[in-house]
Amino acid sequence: MHIVNMNAAAAPLLAGAKWSFVTRRVRRGAVRLLDQDLAAARSGDLVLAEVQSLGSHKRLQLSDGRFSALYPRDRVVLACGDRFAEDQFEGIAVLSPEGADLLAGGGVIGHMRSRNGKMKRPTRLAVIGRLADAAGRVLTLADDALDDVGPRPARVIGVLGTGMNAGKTAAAAGLVNGFARYGARVAGIKATGTGSFGDVQAYEAAGAAEVLDFTDSGLASTYRQPVAQLHDVTARLLASASACDVAIVELADGVSQVETAALLRCPRYRALFDAFVLAAPGALAARGALGWLTQHADLTPMALTGLMTQAPLAVTEAEALGLPVLSREALSDPATAACLGGLLARHEGVA
């Protein structure tokens, strides 16, 4: 049994609430009511919740880019969403009157299905309601998503990985830094994953003129979203970065993760990019991912990078794969940006 459409005025219950990172684009003035039809919740819906007990996430990423420690009885504004994170939780966009889980510190609420053995239980939340406008229509992240602006940047480089913690974000930030120091106007974009400010802050720190992620396109998480929608999200993010010369686009997780794999298999999606680099923690992982990319996506990255570049022995082993192996330091060198930029121009000329 659940209570349907017992809309309540939002303002008194929202007072003092902490607005999470994924809600940063939301026009708060539109919020008037709370909808308590939790069974109807969908990914992207805005949710007011209250912290019941602290678990693995003891801090919330706020909309202004700061962390805020969480306390029992804190009111928080989150987005309902799914979560795919091998080293944390798998969760789905389901809410229940009995409570829900904080699936990601960026502000994603849902139902945890499984967790990594090293993880504590998630922080537990009571759901107060979904945010709605004066007419009772439930508000979602998509309501305040970016509009398409213009053509994509002239150069788009995708950053892929063998999995979580392969060094993708460091590689993406390195590329951003290298191209920015070379004099380019660079966009750092996180195209897939779960809403979190860590990646976009890394791009910003590296000198990106524009930082965007899929939450700017109206998604709390890209897990379990249709490929066509994810294509449009990336295309919209690139269009929003049209003032930039170069876009560095990071895709979450490994190349064989469900959505990433589906996207890479899709020629129309690959056509959004000029080239890719692959981040790996070791040479064998790189070899496996290269094989997958050749077999399923007819794709060869232009360089290897990632955690393995910290280990000279791993670099030597990876160099045998026949691709340049570039450390984060090498990627952040403007001379490397000049080289990669020229390589892309040459491919364009050949095409």
């Binding site: 403007p334 001379a335 490397t336 080289c339």
Partner: protein
């Protein structure tokens, strides 16, 4: 008459520079002229001032001071003189001292070492190259490891940039009397065996290698070699005896003008 200005630098960050502004400027790419290991940039500035007026071009002469950039000629050296020049060009553009567009880059001695390596690392950031009497070179040779050649991990960028680097007007010049094995001439066995025993032989050999590499890449090479009569290893000699300041600071190209193709002549000169 051209004005010679001194722009202060920031040690380790931004090289100081001499700037020569012509009395009547034309809309043209600037020229960057790089000193040798003795860092006689001021002497070069005085010798080149007339060319600024003759061509209407602004000339910038960075000063890679010994303390901050002791091995500037290597470009991607630990102190990264290449980054320092990128920054100087950015600042000079922001200040309106030079116009947009990739500069022509000229270098004497250690400055020519720097110039060819910088242009190779940043092919889009340099237009024409004029290389006068470098002590040793990085060759377009995939069998030798960097920095003598372009093999190995460190040579990745140069291998990738090869065609874009060689596809430009490159003037190689050396004094006919510049055959001494002086203290600034690298003389270890590898270099002697690969490049020759003096600057004249090395310049000839590099030109020939560059022509071969360019042709191998399907380019129409524009690499030209010239021996300057009565000139030793002295920038003053090169200007006074060889009138080579005209190559060092060439007349501006009109946007529509194409560079001459002189392959046969190039080959004969090198031979």
């Amino acid at each position: 008459m051209a004005q010679i200005l001194y722009r202060r630098g920031i040690p380790g960050v931004l090289p100081a520079a001499w700037l020569i502004q012509p009395e009547v400027a034309v809309r043209a790419r600037p020229v960057v002229a790089v000193h040798g290991l003795k860092r006689e940039a001021e002497v070069m500035a005085r010798l080149l001032a007339g060319r600024a007026d003759a061509t209407g071009r602004t000339i910038a002469l960075p000063i890679f001071d010994r303390a901050s950039w002791p091995r500037f000629q290597r470009a991607a050296c630990p102190q990264r003189s290449d980054w320092a020049l990128l920054e100087l060009l950015r600042v000079l553009r922001d200040e309106g001292q030079i116009g947009p567009g990739a500069p022509d880059l000229s270098g004497f001695s250690g400055g020519a070492q720097f110039a060819h390596r910088f242009a190779w690392l940043y092919p889009e950031r340099v237009a024409r190259l004029c290389l006068v009497a470098p002590g040793w070179w990085t060759f377009p040779d995939a069998r030798r490891t960097h920095p003598l050649g372009v093999a190995g991990a460190d040579g990745y960028r140069l291998r990738t940039n090869m065609a874009r680097f060689l596809d430009r007007d490159i003037r190689v010049m050396v004094g006919a009397l510049d055959t001494a094995q002086d203290e600034n001439l690298r003389q270890d066995p590898d270099v002697m065996a690969q490049q020759g025993g003096n600057r004249v032989a090395r310049a000839r050999n590099w030109t020939a290698a560059a022509l071969r590499a360019a042709r191998g890449l399907g380019l129409s090479p524009q690499v030209r070699f010239a021996l300057m009569e009565n000139s030793a290893h002295s920038f003053g000699d090169c200007v006074a005896n060889g009138a080579r300041d005209q190559a060092f600071v060439p007349a501006a190209l009109r946007e529509t003008e194409t560079l001459p193709l002189r392959q046969q002549e190039q080959i004969e000169e090198v031979a």
